[in-house]
Amino acid sequence: MTEPEMVDPGRPKQEVRRTPLKPSASRIESDSVFYTRLVPVILGALALMTIVLIVIAAGVLIGVVPFR
């Protein structure tokens, strides 16, 4: 058990410390053409390629796609 802390209503509240952010290292610029336009297209293309490969592999598995 610990003693309850006495709160002085007149005392200013402690400010929460925040780590200063480095915009270039941690944030994606909202006006970046690369991240707002190109990266979503790349992700979509990768996802599409994945689906195509899975369909081909499944086709091989069930004998629809010829297997040499």
């Binding site: 200063p20 952010l21 941690s26 944030r27 994606i28 990266v39 992700l43 490969l53 592999a57 499944a58």
Partner: protein
């Protein structure tokens, strides 16, 4: 040394460095996904080493066992399962872990049972092993049931590894944080797709790009892992760190 020996040898070196790097993270943090990644990457490296061995030193049944079981069948499933463990820590994932381990042991048993029936006389050192293994191994109908297990492991690995990397990159992109992890996960997905594409082409009869695809995969995935795992400011990382493919 010919190109068919140099490419897999280079892949082996990259995968060795990659595996040690991931294994050291497991030693430091003891998180299961690092262990599964390490095992999968070591399998990938063993497969590449086997290809380099065949190209330079010739036939060996033990090396063929290593190549097929670890290099062709299991590695994608183990690497992908590591990615799944990073995302999901529910009970059903433990069931999948048990299935993966049990399935891998069963595939090992099936591979052992087909070993006495390999046709070593069909081996041609001038041709990549990926293009000629069908002439060395009997067909599924002739008892090589291990070949039936390969697509299951590879489809599972493709879905989990590429799927989780794309999903992870998308989450960071949506939150507009940690661009290094967005790009790192894209590289990991692209690397995994590179080997997936090369393997699929090999299965369809075009095996010329298999070793190149492996080297590209090794380089891209390692670069992605290093990039995604680069230190990031803690304040931004707190909300999404657990969804990174290189956490």
């Amino acid at each position: 040394m010919t190109l068919s020996g140099i490419l897999p040898f280079a892949s082996t070196i990259v995968m060795l460095v990659f595996t040690i790097s991931v294994f050291r993270r497991w030693l430091a943090r003891r998180k299961a996904h690092f262990l599964f990644w390490s095992i999968g990457l070591a399998m990938f490296g063993a497969g590449s080493f086997a290809e380099a061995y065949f190209a330079t030193l010739g036939w060996s049944p033990v090396v063929f066992f290593i190549w097929y079981l670890f290099g062709a069948a299991l590695n994608a499933g183990w690497i992908g399962h590591g990615s799944l463990l990073l995302f999901a820590r529910k009970r059903w994932v433990h069931v999948l872990t048990a299935l993966l381990i049990g399935g891998s042991l069963f595939a090992g048993y099936l591979m052992l049972s087909v070993m006495p029936r390999l046709d070593a006389s069909a081996f041609n050192p001038a041709v990549s092993i990926g293009e000629q293994y069908r002439t060395i191994m009997p067909s599924v109908s002739d008892g090589a049931s291990v070949r039936l297990t390969t697509p299951f492991f590879n489809i599972y690995g493709l879905i989990t590894l590429v799927g989780m990397a794309i999903w992870s990159a998308w989450l960071f992109l949506r939150k507009q944080v940690l661009p290094n992890r967005v790009l790192g996960n894209i590289l990991i997905a692209a690397g995994a797709l590179s080997i997936g594409l090369a393997s699929t082409l090999t299965r369809l009869g075009v095996g010329a790009y298999l070793y190149l695809g492996e080297l590209i995969a090794a380089l891209l995935m390692y670069a992605g892992f290093v990039m995604a795992g680069a230190p990031a400011p803690q304040a931004e990382a707190s909300g999404v760190t657990e969804t990174s493919a290189a956490d």
